[in-house]
């Protein structure tokens, strides 16, 4: 008789990296949804998710471990660092929307240190100066060959979300940028 096999999840990224100027840390597991909705659904969805969905470009809203990032005029990335069930929360809104669970499609790298902007700008064309990209700002953009979502969580810290299969590339290019940030 075959023994029962228990599968264990293998993280896409495990090791820390970077440099003294820009430290790279794989973010802990989080739950995420890609949310699409019209303007009239926002009050009910915001109440159900416990965070007010932002309507201005490049802005975010946070409530504890839960964050809602404006991606487009009717699109948000909502994630929860405590792994709460966001699909159930969105469904409880009772209003017309589309929510797709992308918890395991994305992984995130936390980039922190005085050289974060240099490290990220090694592959990303956005202006990351504080007046243009303040704390709390977020944007879907490009990093080398990979699409990422940038979220500035502190003056010297970004959360970089990317698709799981792109994460070795993103982490590698961030490492190169982090090394350059020291020079």
């Amino acid at each position: 008789m075959a023994d029962q096999v228990t599968a264990s999840r293998k993280a896409a990224l495990t090791a820390r990296g970077g440099s003294a100027e820009a430290i790279l840390t794989p973010a802990p597991a989080a739950t995420r949804i890609s949310l699409r909705a019209g303007a009239d659904a926002l009050p009910a969805l915001s109440a159900a998710l416990g965070v007010t969905l932002p309507t201005r470009p490049k802005t975010s809203a946070s409530s504890g471990q839960r964050h809602a990032l404006w991606i487009g005029p009717d699109e948000w990335l909502v994630f929860d660092e405590g792994e709460a069930d966001l699909m159930a929360a969105a469904a409880s809104s009772g209003t017309l929307h589309s929510a797709v669970d992308i918890s395991h499609r994305n992984v995130a790298v936390i980039v922190s240190g005085p050289g974060v902007d240099v490290a990220i700008n090694s592959g990303c064309p956005q202006d990351l100066s504080l007046p243009i990209f303040p704390v709390g700002a977020c944007s879907r953009t490009i990093f080398g060959k990979a699409e990422i979502i940038l979220f500035r969580t502190a003056e010297d810290q970004f959360r970089v979300e990317c698709w799981r299969s792109f994460s070795p590339f993103v982490f590698g290019l961030l490492s190169e940028g982090a090394a350059d940030a020291g020079h």
């Binding site: 470009p57 487009g72 005029p73 064309p125 490009i142």
Partner: protein, 106 residues
Amino acid sequence: MLLIYCPYCEEERSELEFRGAGDAHIARPENIADITDEEFEEYFFLRQNPKGLIFERWRHIHGCGRFFNAARDTVSDRFYTTYKAGEPKPDISDILQSEQNKGAAK
């Protein structure tokens, strides 16, 4: 690197975030099943490819994801203006006039 103003993100972004999507303001015939092959060819395939001002669709594919329209010069690559999908085509003479005024002010 070109900077393109996205009317949805309300900001200039690098061309790396965008993708071109062909001519703008091509109306799909409402009686598409009834038109002749020649009329379909005219609608579907034939474009002017002008030297100079052109109205195009662009998509902020690695940004907000939205399609929008742009007036661009095919010789200089200069973007005269961009505007949201569904908004009316801007008047060409207005665009060129404001360009001339800008040039004269310099």
